[in-house]
């Protein structure tokens, strides 16, 4: 099954991180695609932007944001969206994603992916805003489930039911972060398989994978380690439902050499039924 917009299966990608720039620019590794954090490039005309443009000439790029704050009760930041759209055009972004969360209110930004209650009223709020953003960007927004450490008393449904309803009613795509599902399932005590099984498979455009830190009483979504087996199993389960779907490994703390990160990402091959026909690597 492919997604309903026919966004391509780009294969297995790696999150673009500054520490890897020298390696990428000198070795041009055989990577299917890269995901760039939008906000790191939106206001830069210096080395970050020059590097991204150089990389975008050789690899497909997807833009992944952390500050759209789609769930905030503040007005949408139209200047941010204008810059995001311009950046996407500049690097020929295959799609644009951000998180189903809020990052601040009353004009402030705490730069964290804060969760939302799962209620009808919040659903309506999100649906309106996602539709507006998709119109402005002239493409469907792809939203990602976040890891969370709290559950709200105001929630009236499960996260997976809420996510599925947001996707259907806002007509948006999903970036399913399998590690986030696992982290939240540990923190909140639900069955992650039930979550994966409830997601509308034809809306999944991309998967995220990452490592995390288990503190015993809770798990932190640190992106600081290898992917654990339970997350690979969840990924396989999700992949069975969606078919081969663009997959990306994130590594943001204690980042090892590029080859180690890439090798970890390529483990996803074992769980994908089909390798993409087209090789994007140089």
């Amino acid at each position: 099954m492919s997604n309903r917009w026919n966004f391509p299966d780009l294969g297995i990608g790696v999150g673009l991180r500054t520490v890897h720039f020298p390696h990428i620019l000198t070795s041009w590794p055989k990577v299917d695609w890269f995901e760039a954090i939008s906000e790191n490039f939106m206001d830069s005309e210096g080395r970050p932007m020059a590097t991204l443009e150089e990389i975008a000439e050789r690899y497909p790029i997807v833009l992944h944001g952390v500050s759209m704050s789609i769930g905030s009760t503040d007005p949408l930041d139209l200047e941010y969206l204008r810059k995001l759209k311009a950046l996407a055009r500049r690097v020929d972004a295959r799609w644009i994603s951000d998180h189903l969360c809020w990052t601040g209110v009353s004009g402030r930004n705490v730069h964290d992916l804060l969760p939302l209650p799962y209620s009808d009223e919040v659903l309506n709020h999100l649906v309106k805003r996602i539709r507006t953003v998709s119109e402005i960007l002239e493409r469907p927004l792809i939203v990602e489930n976040v890891s969370s450490y709290v559950e709200f008393a105001a929630s009236t449904t499960t996260e997976w039911d809420f996510l599925a309803r947001v996707a259907e009613e806002a007509d948006c795509g999903l970036l399913l972060d399998v590690n986030n599902i696992y982290v939240s399932s540990f923190n909140h005590g639900f069955d992650p398989a039930e979550y994966v099984d409830a997601i509308p498979a034809d809306r999944v455009v991309q998967f995220h994978l990452a490592g995390h830190t288990n503190k015993g009483t809770h798990i932190l979504d640190t992106h600081s380690d290898y992917v654990i087996d339970a997350v690979w199993d969840l990924y396989a389960r999700a992949n069975d439902r969606t078919g081969p779907t663009s997959t990306l490994l994130e590594w943001d703390e204690n980042i090892p050499d590029f080859e180690i990160v890439h090798r970890e990402a390529l483990k996803a091959r074992a769980f994908r039924a089909v390798i993409p026909e087209e090789s994007y690597a140089v």
Partner: protein, 277 residues
């Protein structure tokens, strides 16, 4: 917590907890007291897990806030941190973001008010030195992200007719920032970067052009008069007007040799992006 108004209440409450300087339990109590009567305690908002109480759960977000701010400012102001030490820098960041929290989608501009904040912080020793050092580090971050521009070539400069210089307007590259310092902060920055012996923090006036050449940020030391000439040129004054103003300010003109030397240096360093006659 089911209407948009209630979502806003919840977000106001949670943000107040996350950014608070208090311990999490006290932060929750303060946020609840400041909230509408719909939120009277953390238990009204957050459910417990099998292992953590509501306040312990929201504490995870609370703890991460300052760490994130710290990480962003450490990256942009490594010399300030080097000078004051990690612990004092942490307090400076906590004090600073309380007054100047991030209001942008990017953390790149979080430190824009840090020099002024340092200057106003009477608890900081050597704060005049630190004010200059923060201005320098901030200028470096601005130059790093500025728009690129090709510098004028010596050939283009040579092509300006002799009688055209008086009315010529020399446009600097967009990244150019002209900085006057009262302390040797450029030398300090270099000593940190190169792991050299640090200069004294006693007063020593200096003037610098901070700019980007290609993708690298550079610092070029200027004479005081050269600095003022560049200030006028950057404002769009003609070379003739700028030289006349310089002569009035310093009560003496610039010799041809001196002017030639300055322009040779500035052109070679890629300070200008165009010459308009």
């Amino acid at each position: 917590m089911q209407s948009e108004g209630r979502l806003e209440d919840l977000q106001q409450w949670m943000q107040a907890v996350v950014v608070s300087r208090e311990e999490t339990e006290a932060a929750c109590a303060l946020a609840s007291a400041a909230s509408t009567e719909r939120i009277s305690s953390v238990e009204d908002v957050i459910l417990p897990s099998s292992t953590l109480a509501p306040a312990e759960r929201v504490a995870i977000y609370h703890r991460m806030y300052l760490l994130r701010m710290m990480e962003a400012l450490e990256s942009d102001f490594p010399c300030i941190e080097h000078f004051v030490g990690h612990g004092r820098f942490h307090k400076l960041v906590a004090d600073y973001v309380e007054v100047f929290p991030s209001r942008s989608y990017t953390l790149n501009r979080l430190g824009d008010h840090l020099p002024d904040f340092i200057q106003s912080d009477e608890s900081l020793r050597h704060r005049s030195f630190l004010y200059d050092l923060a201005r320098l580090e901030l200028a470096v971050t601005h130059a790093y992200d500025a728009s690129p521009a090709n510098p004028v070539t010596p050939e283009l400069i040579a092509a300006v007719p002799d009688d055209g210089w008086d009315r010529a307007r020399l446009r600097p590259v967009p990244s150019l920032q002209l900085m006057a310092f009262r302390y040797p902060v450029s030398e300090y920055l270099e000593s940190v970067q190169e792991d050299l012996e640090h200069p004294s923090t006693t007063r020593k006036d200096s003037w610098y052009a901070i700019y980007r050449r290609g993708l690298s940020v550079r610092r070029l030391e200027l004479s005081r008069r050269g600095f003022h000439l560049l200030l006028d040129l950057r404002e769009g004054k003609t070379l003739g007007e700028s030289l006349a103003r310089l002569a009035r300010k310093f009560r003496r003109g610039v010799s041809e040799d001196e002017l030639f030397s300055w322009f040779r240096d500035w052109t070679a360093n890629g300070i200008f992006s165009s010459v308009e006659i």
